[in-house]
Symmetry: C2
Subunit: 202 residues, 2 copies
């Protein structure tokens, strides 16, 4: 299944280019497991979710550790019928048939509990979209139930769910939301914003 | 139909708070037609698309005119089955039954031709999601065809279509994409990024 993201990093500082360039080193351990292409709006990462979410976590955490107010934005997608499959995306996340919702919520919570501590606090919000089926809200509500129990839940907003916590737990929560709601072979996307060091939150 | 957006503005500068605060004046002409709520991640705008897209255009254009590298990000949504309707959202965009695709593309192109010139150049990219139905790609491909003819098309990317042009034409194109692809009463969302004054593009 083709999966990946268009990502952007926005440091709110005059030296934003330096902050971005220094954070990019955090992608080095993942470069052989991802296809990466950059233009003036975003950087494409193509690869399996287990690599993709760790790479995004490490990139954002590196930028946030500078203390600069930074925002990370991503359009994440899997199973789009318009994209040809790519061997680099092979993932164990999508093995087997669609398990019952309660079972998926339990295994997602267990995965979040095992997330490493990155020692970077962030807030974020996501909108999960399950496409190509009539009962899409059942899966979206099932995902929101999981988010509420994940330990990273902050509040419900119009069009999005807001999270907060350590970037380890936060990106683990996002990976589980992306992979286990909507069918294994389904078209699922996330519209994501993550923010650290905002003066508004102080 | 409930419609609105969670929006954020990211000026890549040490004085980002000043850039944001001064641009917010551009929302003043629309304040009585929108419900507006802000937290540390985004600002909610609830209202009809004809007001929403003009308000987003004017806010972003005001920030871009400072010459600072600015990015505008938005999660735009209409018809979400989880949201109760709100009288403030009443719009003429969704009157009548779903017209044939070619007819909608023609009227969308005519609307973009009438867009005002804002004298602000920007690039952007959008992902349009049509939810709650099995043939969602037909509407998405129909929208991409319209985007290619809109005069603002730059290139196709994985997961998104990239646009460029004056912010007048750009936001008019986005409004048409949002309102006229997917059924009038359908659940449709856009994941949007717009950027100006990027050093990468120079």
């Amino acid at each position: 299944m083709f999966s990946g993201a268009q990502i952007s990093l926005y440091p709110m500082a005059d030296d934003f280019v330096d902050v971005i360039m220094s954070a990019l080193g955090a992608l080095d351990p993942y470069r052989d497991q991802l296809r990466i292409e950059t233009d003036d709006v975003s950087t494409l990462l193509v690869g399996p979710p287990e690599v993709l979410f760790r790479a995004m976590r490490d990139l954002f955490s590196a930028a946030a550790r500078t203390g600069t107010h930074c925002v990370f934005s991503a359009t994440i997608s899997r199973g789009c019928p318009g994209e040809s499959d790519d061997a680099i995306c092979t993932s164990s996340h999508f093995d087997g048939p669609l398990a019952p919702l309660a079972e998926r919520q339990e295994s997602a919570l267990a995965a979040v509990r095992k997330a490493p501590d990155m020692d970077v606090f962030a807030v974020g919000q996501l909108s999960l979209y399950v496409l190509g089926q009539g009962n899409h809200m059942d899966e979206i509500y099932g995902c929101i139930d999981f988010l509420k129990q994940s330990g990273t839940f902050d509040k419900s907003k119009h069009f999005a769910t807001k999270l907060k916590g350590d970037t380890g737990a936060l990106f683990a929560t996002l990976e589980q939301a992306f992979c286990h709601f909507g069918p294994p072979e389904g078209h699922v996307t996330i519209d994501l914003t993550v923010s650290a060091n905002s003066p508004s939150a102080r």
